[in-house]
Symmetry: C2
Subunit: 243 residues, 2 copies
């Protein structure tokens, strides 16, 4: 049987999603060990997004294959009972052999900025505390300039070995709820650190350091040093993935 898993996790305690050669705690490894103990054979859980150290997810998607014939809902409950409190399999459903997690058509990320001098006592693990005042209107204008297809090389934190660094952004906006600014972006895919570098750049605009029309120039430069700093991991959450 082949299953599609939808997974939520608090990334704080993990060195990212992906299993690593060293025995460091990763989300993938933790789920593989839990699932393996239930189905009584080694399991590979292949994820759609390789979230970084400290990044959270509400809707990571992965596939796994097993010879275990437990009913899906029971299998999900059984694996969850073996998982720590910061990881939960929200859905587990049969999928065809053709379903390929690497072929997502759209992913949504959210980034939270706590824009108040006072500390976020209760949300401190899920927001970036940026206490200098930010102007939201220029930030909104900057967000709009990411829409469409662009070469995002300038927003990637490493030399990409991928065939193309062009990505399509379908939605990009920023809103506010009390002291929290909510940045949201949907796109065909994202390069390494791309969302966090986009946020770091938009924050520079909101701070008044850069004009709100700086994005096209940065994109064209294809030069990482032209974009803003990489915003901290803890504010980022992978919301959902469509196929």
């Amino acid at each position: 049987m082949r299953y599609k898993l939808t997974i939520a996790y608090d990334g704080a305690a993990y060195c990212g999603w992906q299993r690593q050669p060293d025995p460091v705690p990763t989300v993938q490894r933790t789920i593989e060990l839990a699932a393996g103990a239930i189905v009584s054979h080694p399991v590979t859980v292949a994820g759609s997004s390789r979230t970084d150290t400290g990044v959270h997810a509400r809707g990571q998607v992965a596939v796994m294959e097993t010879t275990c014939d437990l009913e899906p809902q029971r299998l999900r409950m059984a694996i969850n009972s073996r998982l720590p409190a910061d990881i939960s399999i929200r859905q587990l459903e049969p999928c065809s052999a053709e379903f390929d997690v690497s072929r997502a058509t759209c992913k949504r990320y959210r980034y939270l900025i706590w824009n108040q001098r006072d500390r976020p006592v209760f949300q401190r693990h899920y927001v970036y505390h940026y206490w200098h005042p930010l102007q939201i209107e220029p930030m909104r204008q900057a967000c709009r300039q990411f829409l469409g297809g662009h070469d995002f090389m300038a927003f990637s934190s490493r030399t990409e070995d991928r065939l193309s660094t062009v990505r399509h952004i379908y939605h990009c906006d920023i809103g506010q709820r009390g002291p929290i600014m909510i940045f949201s972006v949907e796109g065909s895919g994202f390069l390494y650190h791309m969302v966090r570098n986009m946020v770091g750049t938009v924050v520079e605009v909101g701070r008044g350091h850069w004009p709100s029309d700086c994005i096209p120039r940065i994109l064209q430069s294809k030069d990482r040093s032209q974009a803003g700093p990489c915003a901290p991991a803890q504010g980022l959450c992978l919301q959902w993935i469509r196929f």
Copy 2:
């Protein structure tokens, strides 16, 4: 100078509010050490509510006296800069010598119940995970029966040495937002574990174990064993205190 402090804290890492003879981490001691380092003399921070181990607060109130003549807003910032990320002084304002934190007229507590089989990955430190289905309407009816003045002996977890165990409840209700049930209560004061024992009892009603009109009988019994179990500390938060 005498100051009134309004304080928020995540109680997870502390053995409650109150300073103890043993050097265990408590919120009071942590603030006293931070404030003492700023004002350069030992400081006593007297709180209005002795919250238990693991209980949170958004509006604990305390007083402190100091010879330091820093402007209040600067003093607040300075003490906050010495505090860990899970404690924050939200307000600090001068108060008269007559202001007495032990003479609150009304306190509000909130208790969150995560009523879904799946785990609360992101709110796990702030909710009580109770996965059996709960009927909210009988719980609401039970809440209403706490209103008014009653002897709450049956809802106190220890033999009280206070003069009276009569307390007045001005508001008591339960609502729902997604998977979270929100119990809120306002009263003249609360006995040891009283809110958590009220919640534990209301949960028994919601589960269908006890009828929704059981509260008057339990109050009259003045017998702790007649009330429900004490709900876990982590779901509880002291919201505000009025004087």
